[in-house]
């Protein structure tokens, strides 16, 4: 029988081995280079520090793509990116105040602004892109179901939703409507209800999921299915589902990059980042925000979203510059 001292040694050895494994992959990126108070506008100055970002899972991948590019320029700045959802992000941004930037797939709500105010947090809203909410159905659904007006969408998704397609529009077939859509915690859900349709609450008898891939799977196999999600998921959806056109009053329009940009497709939503004004005093936060606006156009397509109009980006740049002072 071995004595405990030897056991202790072994436990220590294991812990040491784990420690070694843990740090063998580390490098010097986190160590500070030069302090850079001199000129924050010159691009060569190496910045250090860390930026905490939380918020929308829609905008998260876009911000991560920017952070990926930013790390090539300023490797000393660490961007910590979490995805608690738009609402969860604003809670940290306005209440606990431990993030400097909040990602949002909808404009900030009044009560969230109140919270920020109550905690003395001033912020700048920066529009970084556009997402086209896309209504989809299975490719097995009869082709006659192709375009929905706002009224028809309400009778598919609204509080007094119909059970069958022919109750929505008499030209549609006698087919059951099966809805797969985002759950109540998602910004997509909020945006559809509050900004597109202006309804209090949607139908309750639908398959809700916070994971758009689950919605996608449900849509695919079910004839007569209906659901919606962000444009990025539609682009990657394959040919087992098709997008439905949306008629906001001026005719049927398919979702696409072009129709979203020229504003003929009306089911678009703006994507934002919100930056704390007092954090902009830190050179790395200001520099990252500027970098975001300068480079968003080059990565946004790859992430699956749509460029915001040039004048919107220009005015966002002006607002940011004013906030930096």
């Amino acid at each position: 029988m071995l004595s405990l001292t030897k056991n202790k040694l072994l436990v220590g050895a294991i812990a040491a081995a784990l420690l070694l494994t843990a740090c063998s992959g580390s490098n010097d990126e986190s160590t500070a280079t030069e302090s850079t108070e001199s000129t924050e506008s010159t691009e060569v100055a190496a910045l250090t520090g860390s930026i905490d970002i939380d918020g929308s899972s829609t905008v998260g991948p876009l911000t991560d793509a920017i952070a990926e590019e930013y790390a090539k320029v300023q490797s000393g700045v660490i961007v910590n990116l979490a995805i608690s959802g738009t609402g969860g992000g604003f809670e940290r941004f306005c209440e606990t105040g431990d993030t400097q930037i909040s990602n949002a797939s909808r404009p900030i709500k009044d009560k969230e602004v109140e919270k920020c105010k109550a905690n003395g947090i001033e912020f700048t809203e920066i529009r970084v892109g556009t997402d086209a909410l896309t209504m989809v159905t299975s490719s097995e659904t009869p082709a006659i179901i192709q375009c929905l007006t706002t009224e028809e969408v309400v009778s598919v998704w609204g509080p007094n939703a119909k059970k069958k397609w022919n109750q929505v529009n008499s030209s549609f077939p006698d087919l059951e409507i099966k809805v797969f859509a985002p759950g109540a915690d998602s910004g997509t859900y909020d945006f559809m209800n509050e900004d597109v349709l202006d309804i209090e609450e949607p139908r309750q008898d639908y398959n809700a999921s916070e994971d758009d891939n689950i919605i996608s799977q449900g849509i695919e196999g079910t004839s007569g299915s209906w659901g919606f999600y962000g444009f990025a998921y539609y682009q990657n959806a394959g040919d087992k589902q098709r997008a439905l056109q949306y008629d906001a009053g001026a005719g049927c329009v398919s979702p696409s990059v072009e129709t979203a940009q020229d504003d003929t497709y009306k089911m678009t939503r703006p994507l934002f980042i919100y930056v704390r004004n007092d954090a902009l005093a830190r050179p790395e936060v200001a520099d990252f925000a500027k970098f975001y606006l300068d480079n968003v156009a080059s990565v946004i397509g790859e992430v699956g979203y749509i460029e915001a109009p040039a004048e919107t980006i220009a005015s966002a740049k002006a607002a940011l510059q004013a906030a930096i002072g």
Partner: protein
């Protein structure tokens, strides 16, 4: 044989004996087949899952996958931040949970007075082992991150996992200590050892393999958990490594990264990259479990 089986309806005595033995062997066979089937179900499903993951994930497993941070392109993305985060968490959780858990087990098993209060505590600890993991995460987020103001940092994540596995370590430790023959303790006392010496020098070394196995199995459960560290503040992307001594840094973790991969719109992320991440995590888990087996074998004799 005939005593064991009691057929319900029979007609002739001679037939009974014959039938009974035949029926009982058939029953025996059936029973054994059922047992074999039960064993195979788990095994086959596991093999199918493993093969599926290896097929999906192997192509993404290159050196870059370990040395790169996340990327918007599935072929360039990596798990470096998550891997260093998970390894740092493991070290911290082991260092914190082991002494506290074993200490508590020794106290409860060897020193605690046998009162209603002790029984009450033991009952509570056993119950705590069954609490859903996300509850510990919420508790850690509220208590450590905001009330004690540690922030959403590595130490908060580690403490969430410590809370999660402490009951398991305590229960495993108690059982191992209980399994040590009382004669060992009594012998030491009879030879003049103090109770502490008897426990420390005689009982604990015998119980150690069981305690270590329990601890490592609990640890490997902890590192696979996404929910508690997600609410305790794990980020899904950062371009810096975690180190166990940088307690107040934000951290990423493997399960959280895998969760993010699965949720991305691109199929390459959902299938290949996520599977590669799962493979890495499985490998870390296997490594820990084999460490548990090695330790047990080394210290059993």
């Amino acid at each position: 044989m005939t005593l064991l089986s009691t057929p319900r309806s029979t007609t002739k005595d001679v037939a009974i004996a014959l039938q009974t033995s035949k029926a009982s062997t058939r029953k025996e066979r059936l029973f054994q087949l059922f047992l074999l089937f039960s064993t195979l179900v788990g095994l086959v499903i596991l093999v199918v899952l493993l093969v599926d993951i290896v097929v999906d994930g192997f192509s993404s497993l290159d050196l870059g996958f370990f040395t790169d941070y996340t990327s918007r392109r599935p072929e360039d993305t990596g798990i470096r931040a998550g891997l260093t985060g998970t390894l740092s968490l493991m070290v911290l959780v082991a260092l914190i949970a082991f002494p506290i858990g074993v200490g508590s087990a020794i106290y409860l098993e060897s020193f605690a007075p046998r009162t209603w209060f002790t029984r009450f505590m033991q009952l509570n600890i056993t119950n705590l082992a069954g609490v859903p993991s996300v509850v510990y995460g919420l508790l850690a987020a509220a208590l450590f991150a905001y009330i004690l103001n540690f922030g959403r940092t590595l130490i908060t994540g580690a403490l969430a996992l410590v809370l999660l596995i402490l009951p398991v370590i305590i229960v495993a430790g108690k059982e191992s200590i209980k399994a040590v023959p009382p004669s060992i303790y009594q012998g030491a006392i009879a030879l003049g050892a103090t109770p502490w010496q008897a426990v420390y020098k005689q009982v604990l070394p015998v119980a150690m393999p069981g305690i270590l196995t329990g601890t490592i199995l609990a640890l490997s459960r902890a590192i696979g958990e996404a929910a508690p560290i997600l609410v305790a503040g794990a980020v899904f992307s950062r371009r810096a490594d975690s180190e166990p001594w940088n307690l107040t840094e934000p951290f990423a973790a493997l399960p959280v990264q895998i969760f993010d991969f699965v949720k991305r719109p691109q199929e390459a992320f959902q299938v290949e990259v996520a599977a590669a991440g799962i493979l890495v995590m499985l490998f870390v888990l296997l490594l820990m479990n084999s460490a548990a087996i090695v330790l047990r074998n080394r210290y059993s004799k």
